[in-house]
Each structure stands twice: as C-alpha cells, then as structure tokens.
C-alpha cells in the first residue's frame, strides 16, 4: 500500500536533485528532500535508491501489442506482446495499434489485449483503424469507436506508403476531424497516428490538411520519421508550425546507433526540441525489407529494448538525460492527453517509476505503484508467462 523510495536522483523528467518519493496505492503523493516516519510501519515498504536515478516509466507511442507483420503470409505474423517483454524495457504505458494487417487483426482484438495488459499492471491505450481506408472499426465509425470504447484514444492510418490507401489531404481532414471530435466528446486525446512510408507524397497530405482545415497540428503524430532524410526535414517543418513527430528506435544495435545519430542531428536544427519529438519502438511489428520492385525480401521484428538503448546512446552523445527522456515521458504524455498523470514524477501522478543504476541500466520499475522489476529481476509477470 505504502512505498517510500529514498535517496534517489529524481528526473521528473527535469532533474530535481536527490529526493524521497512517497507512493500510496497507485499514486505518487509526496516528493521531498527527506520523508520520515515510515520506518517500521507494517504496511510500508522502504526502498533505498542511493546512487540510483528515478525517472518516469517510459511511454511507448507505437506498439503492436497484438503482434503485427504478416507481409510474407500467415507464417510471418508476429506473436503478441507479453507483459514482461514490455516492462523489462522500462515501459509502463503503451499505445497499441494495428499495422498492415487490418483483416486477420482487428480493433476488437486490440482493445481486448490493451485491457488485459492494463489488468496485468501497466497502462495500455489503443487506436482504432489500421493502415487502410476505410478504417476498420468496432462500431462503424472512428468517431464512435473513440467515444464508446475505451481505451481507444485515436486513429491509425498509413500515409505515403505503398501499403497505404494513399490518403490525400481531404481524406486526412475527414479522418482528423472525426478523430478530434470523438476525442473531445470522450475527453481523450483524439490523436491520428500517421504511419509514414517512403513514398513521394511525404507529409504533403498533412500540410494540406493543416492549410485547408482548422484541425490543430497537435492532433496528428506522423511516425517512422527517421526513415529518410527528406522526411526528417519535412518533420522539422511540421515542428516549426507547432506540430509533433515520432521517431522509431531501430530494430538492431546498428540501426539504433544510426537512429541516435539522426536524433542528435535533428536536435541541432533550428527550432527543434524534445518537447515536440517522441520516440517509439514499433515493437512486435515486423520490419520487412523490400527490394526496388516492392517485393518483400525478408523481415524481422522490433524489440522495445531499443528505446532505452537509444536513450543511453543519446546520453553518450552528449544529450543530457533529462532532455533525452522527454522523448519517452513528458512529450508522449502530452500527445496522449495525460500530462501530469503519465510521463512525469509528480505529486498526484500515477506511480509509474523507472529506476536506473549508475551505468544507466534498468534496475527497477514500478507500474501504477506495483513492483514490476526489483534489483534487475522481473517480479511482475503476465497471466500466461
């Protein structure tokens, strides 16, 4: 019931110094230099985090929690995520979504899996829709799905990709306004996550939508934006207009390092800040490789571990930890409409807390106040693990 985390270097994500953090049930209730009077209470657990860093649990804005893939037929469908595969990477909040396959994977399936993960201990939201148009939905419309079926908070769509339905500006306006309206009426984010391919259209449909409608840029989150240098530059234009974009951490050590380098490059550009950038894993989605003819010549699937490894790489490259973790904490929380609840160490926020050791390796994790990892050991497991 009561957990006292003592002597941690707290990153809120802003660095707060050495603090004690009091957790009751699933919430952070107090943060102070010294919190006393709990030792010996039968219902209180004390954790000494001397020499360790305490930061918000990571938010992964793009995870195929029911598995994705399938681009080489049924045998290439990626299996669904298990709880500890997520928590072992420091992640306590996920946004689940569908990918290429909106036929053998359904929004119903996604909702059920999100609810299961939430019951098991983390927090899972999801999106309706998939790559194609018309969007697959539960109730017949994306707006109604967002309004009626928690934890749906928005819509997924693919843009400028050979696997998309090639949505143009007007179609994006239609889906953006339905998503925004549904979000308002349900009091959730109303977010359109745009899978960006390497097509020539790039962000043109989005810029068209912003120029020709009243939908705020904040309702759109293009992802996979490190895919090409052109997309990165388009993304920078979007950020300069007040928008946000998401970057996918790599699926191999090598890709991860290249990704970190690209993030450093973007941050060196004028007007760029981690307040408008998020990073996600694309975990359990396939990473198909296509040849020049658009034929799938092989695939692997992403692990969520590259999120934290990218953070370490960014820190090695000179980005302060408190800046780097914004990509996975406060900024995605803003996009989820959960600022102050998720992605921060703050009084009243959910007790989603990640503990790093001196080498910045994951040492412990609390998910809604529950111990998920303790001294590098996974304590919390999913029902069928």
């Amino acid at each position: 019931m009561i957990k006292l985390l003592k002597n941690a270097e707290v990153y809120a994500p802003k660095y707060l110094g050495k603090k004690d953090v009091l957790v009751i049930a699933d919430k952070v209730v107090r943060i102070d230099d010294k919190i006393e009077g709990y030792e010996g209470l039968p219902e209180a657990e004390i954790f000494d985090l001397s020499g360790k860093k305490l930061l918000p649990g990571y938010i992964d804005m793009h995870m195929h929690i029911t598995g994705g893939g399938g681009e080489q037929g049924p045998a290439s469908r990626v299996p669904e995520a298990m709880l500890s595969q997520i928590t072992s990477c420091g992640i306590t909040t996920v946004l689940g979504l569908l990918g290429t396959d909106g036929v053998t994977r359904s929004v119903e399936n996604l909702v059920a899996k999100a609810r299961a993960l939430t019951e098991e201990g983390i927090t899972a939201y999801c999106l309706t829709g998939a790559y194609g148009l018309p969007s697959p939905t539960i109730t017949g419309s994306v707006e109604k799905d967002i309004m009626m079926v928690p934890p749906i908070i928005g819509t997924k769509i693919a843009v400028s990709d050979h696997r998309s339905s090639n949505p143009q500006g007007e179609e994006l306006i239609a889906i953006g306004s339905a998503t925004r309206r549904g979000g308002m009426l349900a009091n959730v984010a109303g977010l359109v996550t745009m899978h960006m391919g390497s097509g020539n259209g790039k962000l043109d449909p989005l810029f068209y939508a912003l120029d020709n409608s009243d939908i705020p840029a904040k309702n759109f989150l293009p992802t996979h934006m490190l895919r090409t240098h052109e997309l990165m530059e388009e993304g920078a234009k979007l950020v300069r207009r007040g928008g946000y974009f998401d970057m996918t951490a790599g699926s191999t050590d090598e890709e991860m390092e290249i990704g970190a380098e690209k993030i450093m490059e973007i941050l060196s550009w004028e007007g760029m800040s981690t307040d408008h950038l998020t990073m996600s894993s694309d975990a359990f989605g396939s990473q198909p490789k296509f040849n020049a003819q658009g034929e799938c010549i092989g695939l692997t699937y992403c692990s969520p571990k590259y999120l934290h490894l990218t953070i370490k790489s960014l820190v090695r490259r000179g980005l302060p930890l408190e800046e780097a973790i914004k990509l996975l904490t406060s900024t995605p929380a803003e996009m989820l409409g959960k600022s102050g609840v998720k992605g921060c160490v703050a009084v009243g926020a959910d007790a989603d807390l990640l503990v790093l050791d001196e080498a910045l390796d994951i040492d412990g994790l609390f998910a809604k106040g529950q111990v998920a990892i303790l001294d590098k050991e996974i304590v919390l497991k999913g029902r069928f693990e």
Partner: protein
C-alpha cells in the same frame, strides 16, 4: 490522495460485525479494525459514527438514468436523473436501462450518462437493449456490446407478458440469454438478462420453461417488477427456488397508483417468512421510469418514479422487524452478486470500494460515501452533478 477514517462504526457488512473503525484511502476500504489511529502523515478526515449503524451503499440495478416513459407521446417522456437524487437515498451504484422507448432513446446516450454519473462520483453501469426484440445495441449485437463496452453488464430490460413487449418467443429469448451469457464469459462479467414483467396472465411461464428445459443457468435471469401483481409474485417465489433472481420494484406501491400490487417492504417480509432463498431476492427502484396506470374511468395516468421509494421501503422493511442484514442483502449484496460486481460492490470489507452509508435515527440516510468521496452529510448532498442546481 484522499484519506478518510470512520470511527466507532456499528458495522453491518451486511452481517453485523460490531464496533469497528474503517480506514479508506482513495476509493477503497484498506483496513477495518478496532482502534485504528489515523496516521498523521495521511492527513485523514475523521468521521465519528458513534452510535450509528454503518452499511454498504445501495446497488440499484434498474434506473432510467436518461429517463424513460413516452407512452403518452413526447410530453410524457420522463427526465434524466440527477446525481444527488440517487446519493441522498443511499444509492452509490446504479445500472441504467432503457424502457419502452428504444427509438428516441439510445444505448449510446445511456452509456454516456452512465459515464457522466461515474465521473461525478458514483458507479454507473448499463444494460444494452430496451423492451424490444430484436434487441437494440451499439456495436452490432448484444454479445459484442457486453464484450466491448466496459460498463455494459448484460441485456435489458426485455419486456415479457406486457402489451408493450415484442411478444418474444421462447426461441428468441433463449438466443438473447445465450448471447448475454457468452458475452459475459468473454469479458469477465455476469451476462445477465433483465426482464420487464408486465401484468399479462402468462407471467414468467416462458422463463420457467427455459430454466427447466435448457442448460442456460438460472442465475442469468432477472425478472423485475415481480411485486406488481399477485400471480406474478407467486410465480417469482418458485422462480427463486430454481436459482433465478427475482427483483422487487420499490416504486410499485399503492400510493404510486398500483392498487393490486404487493407493497415492496411487505414482499421482502413475505419472502423472508416463507423461507424463499433470500440470496436470490433483489430490489430496485425503477427510478425515472414512467408508470402507466389505468384509472377507473379507463384513462391512463403517467407517473414518474422517484428513487425515494427505494430507501423508504428499506426503512419500512427494517422497522417491520426484518433483520437489517437480510434487507441489506436485498438492496446491496444480492444485486452486486447478480450483476457480477461483488465483492467490489455490495459489502463492507477490505479492498472493496468505499461505498458506505451511515444511518441516522430510524435508519434514515445521514451520510453517504461513494468510492471514498463524501457525497452526503446530515442528509444533505455535498456533491451535485455537473449541471445540477
């Protein structure tokens, strides 16, 4: 974070537990023991309940939260319910239903209203459907509604033996029951079907047939308004013995225009005295529904039901000598169990939601907590709904 300590409570959980202190953190009861001292650091609000009985909040499984009625045209549509109308009589959990009108009223609005009430402090759920068959739903069929919509616990109220029903056949009812049961299984809910019982002479005949001749368990059936006519009440006794739930409507009383009914508190007494399985007996209010009563001259009179009857009948039953514990089961534990909400709802125990009534004199509702939040104090609502004056 909020912390509340109820001191010196004479606890009926619903079984009498004697004098205890109840510690509440946020929405939950976290400790029940003698002599709990509020830990200083928790900054606890203390309520002294010395000399008062403290009982679980009521679970009202049949409320027309967005209104009902309409049987005499648009002017006869009854209004939506306000939060404090429920809390002031001790109701902390409601299940919203549609009624006769499944055309100008929709499950979607019912769901939205339930979410609004939950946001305002109490716990609100819904049943999908209305009187009619085919059953109105939100996502394509009732099974999907139960699986996909968190607040949707089952189907109802399907009208039977009533001139306003769709005259459903046994086969149709079996399909609905099966869909509800399966939806419930797949979502970890009760998957109940509530049946609005009219005064038709067939009563609950068809439900007996289904329970006796199919493998659908009786626990999924909840015929309601069973006290509206004597023949129905007699049948209900038998139905409870078979394992079905029977639901008394507190708003069906002589003073409400039902001369040929069994007074609700009296119905509880008769069932208790005749050793009917009391764990199968529930009571609900039918609040904000419309009672369509035929006057001696043959004309119809419309009455909007008030939730006040709910607590009035609880009080009457207890003052009439039925053990408090038994009455509390009828209005709290049993409806929670029937709808799969127990032990989160319907009892006072550690880890349950802190839905609590502190009685004043003569079992009057003095103080109400809903999910740990103080809603009513000295009989007055402290919390009002968003647009309530």
């Amino acid at each position: 974070m909020s912390c509340l300590l109820v001191k010196n409570a004479d606890v009926y959980a619903p079984e009498p537990l004697g004098l205890l202190d109840i510690l509440i953190i946020n929405e939950k009861i976290v400790q029940m023991a003698q002599g709990i001292t509020a830990p200083e650091y928790l900054d606890c609000q203390v309520l002294d309940a010395e000399g008062h009985k403290v009982v679980p909040g009521y679970v009202d499984q049949h409320v027309h939260i967005i209104g009902g009625g309409g049987e005499s045209g648009p002017y006869s549509r009854t209004p939506e319910i306000f939060l404090s109308e429920l809390t002031q009589v001790g109701i902390t959990t409601v299940i919203g239903v549609l009624g006769t009108d499944g055309t100008s009223r929709h499950n979607e609005s019912l769901l939205a209203k339930a979410r609004g009430l939950t946001h305002d402090g109490i716990s609100a759920y819904i049943l999908t459907g209305s009187y009619e068959i085919p059953v109105h739903n939100m996502t394509g069929d009732v099974r999907r509604d139960i699986i996909l919509i968190n607040e949707c616990l089952g189907v109802g109220e399907i009208a039977l033996s009533d001139h306003r029903s769709s005259q459903p056949t046994r086969a149709e009812l079996e399909k609905i029951l099966t869909q509800s049961r399966l939806g419930g299984m797949l979502s970890g809910k009760a998957g109940v079907v509530q049946f609005h019982m009219g005064v038709g002479k067939r009563g609950i005949d068809v439900l007996f047939e289904i329970v006796r001749e199919t493998e659908i368990p009786a626990k999924h059936f909840i015929p309601t308004h069973v006290n509206r006519a004597f023949h129905l009440f007699e049948q209900a006794k038998e139905f409870a013995k078979l394992g079905g739930y029977i639901d008394i409507t507190s708003g069906i009383r002589e003073q409400d225009g039902f001369p040929a009914c069994v007074k609700p508190s009296n119905a509880i007494k008769v069932l208790y005295q005749e050793n009917i399985p009391m764990d199968r007996v529930t009571m609900s209010s039918d609040a904000n529904g419309c009672m369509s009563v035929t006057l001696p001259d043959g004309s119809q009179k419309q009455l909007a039901v008030s939730p006040d009857s709910f607590h009035e009948e609880v009080q009457a039953a207890v003052l009439d000598g039925i053990p408090l514990e038994t009455v509390l089961r009828v209005v709290s534990t049993n409806p929670a169990q029937a709808n799969g909400l127990y032990p989160q709802k319907g009892c006072l125990c550690v880890d349950s939601d802190a839905d609590i009534i502190i009685y004043g004199e003569d079992y009057a509702v003095d103080t109400v907590l809903a999910k740990g939040k103080l809603m009513v104090r000295n009989g007055q609502a402290l919390v009002k709904g968003t647009f309530e004056r």
